[in-house]
């Protein structure tokens, strides 16, 4: 009996060792393949004007915010600010993430439509490594743009004497994570959509829904508090508000940007635990969308 057990455990042990060795091999193959996919996609994007145009637009938006602060100061004579470049950096991060998300969706759908994905899958690339490659490339693109934003902030800080502190890098790092989540969401939508148009429309709708949930709720609260309309217990506005309230709560747990915003609050008050929690939530969201995308890609085929 004991002998049989020992043999059984040996077999199981050997099986586990083989499985883990196979997993490690697959993992290294996948990482290598994803890096090559990322490298190609990255170079391809850097050789097209889109990323430069959008980076310029984000910096223009950020500049407007900084100039607004300076205008306030010249009018009021005083400006009290904790981190003058936090909000501009956040705006840059949001615009860049939205663009990169759309870009990732389009890239995925195009590769599918044009058949280049199929050619990759004939070789040592699978759905997971392909998606991972896209995630990497878009994260690196974000990273490059983030470096540009930090450089811009440093130069502008020198010019204006506005304080640029080290934790600006923290904001961009948090943005990098959130960007991963948003790009994964884009890949998720792209993997489900069969055409570029459908995917883009769906992604735009999802983002719009998030915005409505985030700001519509607040607008309704204000409206009700100001006593607009005949409100009562059965008022449909209340139902709508309750629905938006619920949606808002849901979006908070589904939107990496909402988590990033909370993470920035944590960064502002130097709350390390909350920051880690938010970062973890973003990583969780990214994983959710990523594996959703991988599953959709496997199910739908190239």
């Amino acid at each position: 009996m004991i002998g049989r057990n020992v043999i059984g455990w040996n077999v199981i042990g050997r099986g586990c060792r083989m499985a883990s060795a196979r997993f490690a091999l697959q993992l290294s193959d996948r990482l290598y393949a994803s890096w090559q996919v990322a490298r190609r996609a990255l170079i391809s994007t850097l050789y097209s004007p889109g990323i430069y145009v959008i980076s310029t637009l984000t910096l223009l938006a950020a500049s407007t915010l900084v100039l607004n602060n300076l205008a306030f100061l010249s009018e009021n004579g005083l400006l009290v600010l904790t981190r003058p470049f936090f909000l501009p950096a956040f705006v840059c991060g949001v615009i860049l993430s939205l663009y990169l998300s759309l870009h990732a969706t389009l890239q995925l759908v195009r590769e599918r439509e044009q058949g280049t994905l199929k050619v990759l899958l004939f070789g040592p690339v699978d759905g997971v490594s392909f998606l991972l490659g896209k995630l990497w490339s878009h994260s690196i693109l974000y990273g490059l743009a983030a470096v540009m934003v930090v450089l811009w902030a440093v130069v502008l800080g020198q010019m204006t004497n506005l304080l640029v502190q080290v934790d600006l890098i923290g904001v961009m790092g948090l943005g990098l994570l959130a960007n991963g989540g948003i790009v994964a969401l884009g890949l998720f939508v792209g993997a489900w959509g069969r055409t570029a148009r459908t995917s883009l429309i769906v992604l735009a709708l999802v983002l719009l829904l998030a915005l409505i949930a985030q700001f519509g709720d607040q607008a309704l609260v204000q409206m009700i508090n100001q006593g607009v309309g005949q409100a009562n217990r059965q008022d449909p506005v209340r139902f709508l508000r309750a629905a938006l309230d619920g949606l808002h709560g849901l979006i908070l747990w589904l939107s990496p940007l909402a988590q990033m915003s909370r993470g920035m609050d944590a960064l502002l008050v130097a709350d390390g635990a909350a920051l880690l929690w938010r970062a973890g939530a973003i990583i969780g969201q990214t994983a959710l969308y990523f594996f959703g995308a991988a599953w959709a890609l496997k199910r739908g085929g190239p």
Partner: protein
Amino acid sequence: MNHKLLNHKETKTQSKMCLFFCLFVSLWLLSLSLPVSAQAPERREAFVWATAVFAGVQYESTFTPPDSDTLYLLADANHVLAPRSTLVYDWSITNRLLADWPARNELVDGTLVLHNSTGQKERLEITDYVIQFDGDAPAETLALHKGQEALAQYAVFDQARQAYATALHAQFQLEQDYQAALTAAAQAATKGEALAIPDGPPPPLPAFTRYSTGVKRAFVLNLPVGEYTLWLEHPDGTEEPASRKHLHVFAPRRYGVGFNVVPASKWTVPELSDDPRNALYAQSGSTIYLQPFAEFEVNELAYGRMIDAQAKGLQEDRFVWVHTTPYPDVTLQIIQGRQVVAGAANQPYFVRQRPGASLGYSIEEFDPATEKSPNFYGYRVTLDEAARIQLVNGDGQPVMGSQRDIRPIRTVDRWVVYALSLLPLFIGGVVLLWRRRRVEPIPQQ
């Protein structure tokens, strides 16, 4: 093929049905609002916890609605929890549950049972309490007395109030005497008689600024940080069903010094600096006046729900600063590098309007000889170079959380800032040109 067509048709039919269903539900919801819009809110009997909580500088009262399952209290401070039976109703205009206290406000008798997270149980009895403070310095004099002390303090207050009433009466009498003497003097004067003119009116009594609630009955809690469960046990040993709540007792995250920053150029529009990480920016050469106050930072959700149990839009991972008392007189230091380059003391200032059409003003040091009272007090700082300020106490020790960066801003042309934003476009242009030179052009067909 037919099968596919059939599926397609089915899907279309299902979509139509779904659309009609949504339309129907929307119309139904809208129709609900029409007949009931003029109805008065329905009142219903409910058990609530009415609270008077110490919010850092004063007591705030609220009540916890039956559907709310958590109470929030600040640690190591006296708070009042009163078990009450009242009538509640929905007030949709503000989307809140309100209590009709005048209609019913009954104390529910019983014992408060308190469980902490380690399982320890404590029982509290209802006790008398009063809340008192002096209006001249409410934050410094605020006190909650309970039990016999409450009765004694209320008696003291009552005595003082009566003494004040007596003094007021005497003052009134003196005032009347004075008026009578004046009248008599005037009459004597008309008759040509000589009569002594009274010296002057009696000095006015200082205002009675002490305040006290009546002696009331409730539970008074003072707990350390932790998670608790509480409920009310009736005298017969049964639990009041709606009384069981989770109690979250929290402490401030940190303490600090906030500043009201008054710019000399616009003294009526001060800015607030709560966070020690704030930097104060101003034009180079401008002057600011700093008014420090003590503060502490608490969780937004916990604090907000503590002072208003139905507050919405609060976030559990955000923190807010609660301002308490003006900071006692200390010295302000201006530091550059590691060296203290200047200091400032808390001084009174007077704002003098300039005569003429210029409509300007100047802020001057207050001179009691020429002016009645100062417009404000503050520490005066002139911004010439980037520096750091901090408060130091009588022992020369820096006051925690009082540090701020002050920075004069350099003016930059907005077009220069926009031009700087074109950096990525420039880099992109270089990369694309380089790429174009490396790639063979596509032959024209």
